[in-house]
């Protein structure tokens, strides 16, 4: 176990835990955006930034992925931490002024309008969808293309592989800025991402005829559960 303080509150937590987990244990709330407890941390949005008091100079780190250490002094509301957090949120606001989640974050930090604008798609590159698809769904259909040396694509982006996509819609569900949307209509599911529009057939229940799930998702479930595809002929309502 490791002993540390978060905003002067002593807390004890297992080695390897993150500062964010320690803060939660100490009853201190740190605002987050790209964090989800079911997923590996990305450190993308920089909102959960905190200050660690140490000599000769304190450092600022993201609490979602920085591990605790014995005797660590964590300050979540220090001037440095607040300043860094506010600028991180301002950056997100400038990119995406219409997101409720971001507006709410700005409100809790009593922030006004951003001082600048950013030409940007609605995607803020938080990669919640990438991680959900890889780590929870297991399809690995979404990947991140970083901008970098000699990349043909000069903009960083999140991209979908339609062949691997099972149309489950988790990405649309998890997206904090509605950059990914899902629409079911007349036996077709449409998933719109910042770069592509994909259409998938929905399966009709052999008994009641209702379209109840994407065919690709059912095939995926049959494959991973080693059940025959016929087991998915009926919708949940018509099953015994």
């Amino acid at each position: 176990m490791v002993k540390l303080t978060v905003d002067n509150k002593p807390v004890e937590i297992e080695e390897g835990a993150t500062i964010l987990a320690a803060a939660a244990k100490a009853g201190v709330t740190i605002p987050t955006l790209c964090y989800n407890e079911e997923l590996s941390p990305a450190g993308a949005c920089r909102v959960c930034v905190v200050e660690i008091a140490c000599t000769p100079k304190s450092i600022t780190v993201t609490s979602c992925n920085y591990p605790v250490a014995e005797g660590m002094v964590v300050l979540t509301k220090s001037e440095n931490a607040i300043k860094a957090r506010k600028l991180a949120v301002e950056m997100l606001m400038a990119q995406h002024p219409h997101s409720d989640k971001i507006a709410k974050l700005a409100q809790t930090l009593s922030m006004g309008e951003p001082r600048f604008s950013v030409n940007s798609e609605e995607c803020i590159l938080c990669r919640l969808c990438v991680r959900t698809c890889q780590e929870v769904v297991g399809a690995g259909a979404i990947t991140f293309v970083a901008q970098g040396l000699e990349r043909e694509n000069r903009e960083a982006a999140v991209v979908w592989n339609q062949d691997k996509c099972i149309a489950c819609g988790s990405c649309a569900y998890i997206c904090p800025t509605q950059a990914v949307t899902l629409n079911d209509n007349q036996g077709t599911r449409t998933i719109c991402t910042p770069s592509t529009k994909m259409e998938f057939k929905l399966k009709a229940c052999t008994k009641c005829g209702n379209h109840y799930a994407p065919e690709k998702q059912l095939e995926y479930m049959a494959r991973t559960s080693h059940l025959p595809i016929e087991k998915f002929d009926l919708c949940p309502d018509c099953r015994d």
């Binding site: 990305a42 450190g43 993308a44 949005c45 920089r46 930034v49 450092i59 600022t60 780190v61 993201t62 992925n65 920085y66 591990p67 440095n80 300043k83 860094a84 600028l87 991180a88 950056m91 997100l92 400038a94 990119q95 001082r115 600048f116 950013v118 940007s120 803020i124 590159l125 938080c126 890889q134 690995g140 990947t143 991140f144 293309v145 970083a146 901008q147 970098g148 040396l149 000699e150 000069r154 960083a156 982006a157």
Partner: protein
């Protein structure tokens, strides 16, 4: 740089603007590029100005625009932050600045340094912050001005400490980034741009990059070599972009080792008709005969050669060139990359090749590699401390030899063999005898029965920087052995080279071809690369040498010039910068390094199956995530007129 007006390089401020003169001899930045004086230099560790006429705001703008192109997008502060800075600076230099811009730039660059995910953006803003702090008036004036600044001409270079250490300058942060994002096919494309043997190097490279990885100063370097193997094994090979115009000139390359293969790939994508000759029945040179199959499976190597051949190189095996002049009529230029395969004189008394149990190390490895029968013995003594010695020892165990000892004249600390190789050998049961050297073979009835050895002690440092071993008088002892394998170094066979009075190839005192680092010899049409020019070196160094020689050949054939390529003159200017591992960004959390799984020692000594496994995609992605992306963008402005 002789006269420095201002410098913040390395965090030390030298300011001579008010007329004082502080010598700036310590500033390690280029003073001239391709014959032109440097007026300004800006990079990750500060900015240096030596000319009053340099527009600092325009310089900062150009630098941040280049830097923003390299921000990866992993974190919004770094990615969007650098882009916002670049946009504001561009606006200011276009005469559309606002007075409040400058304070905002200060605040934003400060926050980027403190709150980004990796090293790139955190270090990138350092010179901008130095400029804003020390040239505040210039920035304020520019922000108030309605006039656009003059366009700035500059020379750019992007590199990283790992990339600089790599002889073939692989874009390591680039392919690690793709591995992290599970885009292995694209990662393979990045690797293949400068590396024609990704699967070979992913298994056997000595990884100079890892020795210069910035993570070294935080926890442990990344497993770069093992990571490279992931795209190499799993990525899909796509044809490389080749020059549209095919050239009629035929070129010959002697030796299908890493140097020859690398040159063949470069010249064939340049459109030449490339003929690659090798006297062996298998291509690969020393990577075939010298690296045992348990480190480099045979099908892996042949697969790599097939890929190179598919790009247009004609591979002619089982073909020994007797005299290089015989190629002259048919080929416009010839590259000698024949390696170093002859064993150096081992200096052991009573050495008689006809004795049963005596064999040179490389001959032994070659025989086993080619599937020739080599009878296992009971007690083996391998002589030497390099990778060849370790390969001999581990191979001897695998053909069924009972007890294997490596004798080395220095101590463990001075051994040139790779640490992981030595560790693996110890695990497999290889014994080591340090500070001793065999001086005489003992034989009975034409068979080896032992070696008389003498103890050594370490004396003064020699030219290689290592302490020189000195024999201890009267310390002779006999080591019983029925096989002795010296692996103390190889030397090239140069008998096929022009020896006549008119055209005689110059050789060095080491019996290697005298060629400069671009493969240029004293004969215009004859180039040399790899071990036959450098003496025994590594796979990656041979590849680098082959590539450089191929560039020189292209220049000779295309422009009839014998010179070093221009791009290299610019590159070499940046070498002086001293691309150290120094960093001023925040310290990241310690993360454990991932190592690939290995077959356990008990099982692996029984056969020649590959010992090391490939990382799986998930583990590779996590390990690649430890990369700090230490790209350094460097901009040079030269003095006008």
């Amino acid at each position: 740089m002789n006269e420095v007006m201002f410098s913040s390089w390395g965090g030390t401020i030298v300011d001579n603007r008010s007329g004082r003169s502080t010598p700036a001899t310590e500033i390690k930045v280029p003073s001239a590029v391709a014959g032109k004086d440097v007026a300004a230099f800006i990079s990750w560790d500060g900015l240096v100005i030596s000319d009053n006429n340099v527009d600092v705001v325009a310089l900062a703008n150009a630098y941040m625009a280049e830097a923003a192109h390299l921000a990866c997008g992993e974190c919004s502060m770094g990615y969007k932050g650098t882009h916002v800075i670049s946009e504001i600076l561009t606006r200011i230099t276009n005469g559309q600045g606002k007075p409040e811009d400058i304070d905002f730039l200060v605040e934003l660059s400060d926050s980027i340094q403190k709150n980004v995910k990796c090293d790139f953006c955190a270090n990138t803003v350092i010179p901008l912050r130095d400029a804003l702090k020390n040239f505040r008036t210039a920035f304020d004036t520019a922000a108030a001005s309605k006039e656009a600044a003059l366009k700035l001409d500059y020379i750019k270079k992007v590199t990283a400490p790992c990339q600089e250490a790599c002889p073939i300058h692989q874009d390591i942060p680039g392919y690690l980034e793709l591995i992290r994002n599970r885009r292995n096919t694209e990662a393979l494309e990045v690797i293949r741009r400068t590396n024609c043997l990704p699967r070979v190097t992913g298994r056997t490279c000595v990884a100079f990059c890892e020795k210069n990885c910035v993570r070294k100063d935080i926890d442990t370097p990344l497993s770069i070599r093992a990571l490279k193997r992931v795209p190499a094994d799993l990525g899909i090979i796509k044809p490389l972009n080749s020059d549209k115009i095919s050239k009629k000139d035929k070129v010959a390359i002697i030796g299908a080792g890493p140097a020859g293969l690398s040159a063949a790939q470069y010249l064939s994508i340049k459109g030449y008709q490339v003929y690659l000759f090798d006297e062996q029945e298998t291509a690969g040179g020393m990577t075939f005969s010298g690296i045992p199959a348990y480190r480099l499976p045979r099908n892996v190597l042949s697969g790599e050669v097939d890929v190179i051949a598919s790009q247009g190189t004609q591979v002619r095996l089982n073909t020994r060139i007797r005299h290089v002049e015989e190629l002259r009529g048919k080929y416009k230029a010839v590259l000698v990359a024949s390696g170093a395969h002859q064993s150096r004189d081992n200096g052991i008394d009573n050495w008689n090749k006809d004795y049963d149990g005596l064999m040179e190390g490389v001959e032994f490895l070659h025989a086993v590699s080619s599937g020739k029968p080599v009878a296992p013995k009971q007690k083996i003594l391998v002589v030497g401390g390099g990778n060849t010695a370790i390969d001999c020892a581990r191979t001897a165990l695998r053909i069924g030899c009972k007890e294997v000892t490596v004798v080395y004249r220095r101590s463990r600390h001075e051994m040139p063999a790779r640490d992981e190789e030595v560790k693996a050998a110890v695990e497999e049961g290889v014994k080591f005898l340090f500070l001793a050297v065999p001086v005489k073979i003992q034989s009975q009835n034409g068979k080896v029965v032992g070696a008389e050895c003498i103890r050594m002690e370490l004396g003064e440092q020699d030219a290689s920087g290592r302490r020189k071993p000195v024999p201890v008088k009267g310390s002779e002892f006999v080591f019983a052995a029925d096989m002795v394998l010296p692996a103390i170094g190889e030397t090239p066979d140069l008998t096929f080279l022009p020896q006549g009075k008119q055209a005689k190839v110059e050789v060095t005192s080491w019996n290697s071809i005298k060629a400069d680092e671009n493969g240029i010899t004293n004969i215009p049409w004859l180039f040399a690369a790899g071990d036959c020019a450098s003496g025994p070196a590594t796979v990656v160094e041979a590849m680098a040498s082959g590539h450089k020689a191929a560039e020189s050949m292209d220049l000779y054939l295309n422009k009839n010039k014998i010179a070093r390529p221009e791009s290299e003159a610019v590159d070499s200017a940046f070498h002086d910068v001293g691309l150290s591992r120094s960093r001023r960004g925040p310290k990241p959390a310690v993360e454990a390094r991932a190592y690939p799984h290995e077959m356990n020692a008990e099982d692996r000594v029984k056969n020649f199956e590959e010992v090391e496994e490939c990382f799986n995609v998930q583990v590779a992605s996590r390990e690649a995530d430890r990369c700090l992306r230490c790209y350094r963008v460097m901009l040079i402005v030269t003095r006008q007129g």
